[in-house]
């Protein structure tokens, strides 16, 4: 039998948050969040609107400077580095190569007036690919992987349906084989049937590529399907954390019990 590939056996964390906090004046959006994310691990951050989960995602992805604490990331050379101390060029490079960011609104994550092929190829061109044929081949193989008809490669995403746009956004992010993907309500605003297909696709890609991911969602079904571990946020704090099925099947905190009991039976 082949040696099991187990990315989570890697005992070096990929991303470490220590006592992260963010204030907007007197308003506390996020307070004292600490955790470590390991390679290949999918972490869901759940909570209602205003719980601070989107702020947390922005802090973790270095799009927002924390008021307290810090975020460190293990670069490809194996060194754990404080994101606040990276130069802007390094941070942006990270964003284009080793990280992905899937927005809820695909229009924010895509260039809507540029063809699907160029949307996927852009990251490759940004890291110096300079051969049209090879860029196009890579783009078309990624369109296939996210189940977009390659005949649509020259169409702009504004002609795509919501589900296709979201899948294109995923392809655009994964083409440089990132190790970490941030997702902000990736299935929000999609029809239920479209959601199921997208979730299934993301689940497969994440496990095939051994991706680590941080998924912000208010939908516990998304958390259950995609994540290994879940953090429940309320009022800017993490109030409960643990294995996803443990937290959802055996919730401890009053708020988590409320969230879980609020799911309509299937």
């Amino acid at each position: 039998m082949a040696e099991p590939q187990d990315p989570m056996q890697d005992d070096q964390p990929l991303l470490v948050a220590e006592h992260l906090g963010k204030n907007y004046g007197r308003l506390t959006a996020c307070r004292d969040v600490s955790f470590a994310l390991y390679p290949g691990e999918v972490l869901a951050v759940v909570g209602e609107s205003g719980s601070g989960k989107s702020t947390l995602l922005q802090l973790l992805s270095a799009q927002l400077a924390p008021s307290a604490g810090r975020v460190s990331y293990r670069m490809r050379d194996g060194v754990l580095r404080d994101l606040a101390r990276l130069g802007e060029a390094e941070r942006r490079f990270l964003f284009r190569t080793d990280w992905g960011y899937v927005h809820q609104d695909a229009a924010q994550g895509l260039r809507m007036a540029v063809s699907a092929g160029a949307n996927v190829g852009e990251r490759l061109m940004a890291v110096g690919w300079n051969h049209y044929g090879r860029i196009r081949d890579a783009a078309s193989s990624w369109l296939e992987r996210v189940e977009i008809d390659t005949a649509r490669i020259d169409d702009a995403p504004r002609t795509y349906s919501g589900g296709m746009r979201q899948r294109l956004q995923i392809a655009r992010n994964l083409v440089t084989e990132p190790r970490l993907v941030f997702m902000d309500e990736p299935t929000g605003g999609l029809d239920v049937s479209v959601q199921a297909r997208l979730l299934d696709l993301m689940r497969n890609l994440v496990s095939e590529l051994g991706l680590a991911a941080i998924v912000v969602t208010h939908d516990l079904a998304v958390a259950r399907l995609l994540s290994h571990r879940v953090m429940v946020m309320k009022g800017g704090r993490v109030i409960e954390t643990g294995l996803t099925d443990q937290v959802l099947d055996d919730p401890r905190e009053p708020y988590t019990q409320l969230l879980v009991s609020s799911i309509l039976p299937a």
Binding site: A2, L225, D250, Q257
Partner: protein
């Protein structure tokens, strides 16, 4: 120790915050061991906490006290205090769980649902599918259904898919929650055979079975959980 599972004084209580913080004791003082190649059947009336114990051994329910020792990759891990990552690692390479109900992703073909645990452990897709097919055939799931998602199946068919998924991997511990509940006689016999086969492979098993006949066929030892029932 040689035991695969070594539980000492494990305890579980639910606190129902939405019902005014009612404490609901489930089990306490749970202690037993399971050796390799042994099948322990939990017995006791409904509500005695059999399923809860199984879920605690799988790490699905948190343990509020005591110890749940699991032999994992040559070491003993206490699931009562383990990190989520360790629990996941235990599930991937040590403990398999066959629940009563199938929780499958919509849209995924039956054959892939069954093959998935093998693929997750690094076995090539083609080989994993071949083994999945063999198991499905043995459990009398007609080949024409393999490409369909199991959500479209009858209850009995879904359970057989679930059993196939649970039995396919070569994990040293298997937890079985009513594996034969909605099966006909022929398929029950297949499950008994599969359990026998696992015993020969030195797999340690903990099972909940209501059917007396099946229980006699598979149990090496019966643990009565009534004594663990926490007085309310």
């Amino acid at each position: 120790m040689t035991a695969m599972i070594d539980i000492t004084s494990a305890k579980k209580t639910f606190t129902m915050h939405l019902q005014g913080g009612v404490e609901l004791p489930v089990v306490r003082g749970v202690s037993f061991q399971v050796e390799p190649g042994e099948c322990v059947v939990l017995s006791g009336p409904s509500g005695a906490g059999k399923s809860s114990i199984l879920k605690m051994i799988f790490g699905n329910y948190r343990c509020d006290g005591g110890r749940i020792g699991i032999r994992h990759q040559g070491m003993v891990i206490d699931l009562a205090t383990a990190e989520p990552r360790q629990v996941l690692s235990v599930r991937r390479t040590t403990i398999g769980y066959v629940s009563q109900f199938l929780r499958a992703v919509p849209r995924v073909a039956t054959i892939d649902v069954v093959a998935e645990p093998l693929i997750a452990n690094g076995i090539a897709r083609a080989e994993a599918r071949e083994r999945a097919g063999a198991l499905l055939r043995r459990l009398n799931i007609p080949e024409r259904l393999w490409a369909l998602p199991p959500s479209t199946f009858s209850g009995g068919e879904q359970q057989r898919v679930n059993i196939a998924r649970g039995f396919i991997s070569d994990l040293p511990i298997l937890l079985l929650d009513e594996p034969t509940a909605s099966l006909d006689a022929a398929n029950r016999a297949v499950v008994v055979e599969l359990i026998e086969q696992k015993k020969r492979q030195r797999v340690a098993m903990v099972a909940i079975v209501h059917d007396d006949e099946i229980r006699h066929l598979i149990a090496d030892r019966i643990v009565d959980v009534t004594s663990f029932a926490a007085a309310a």
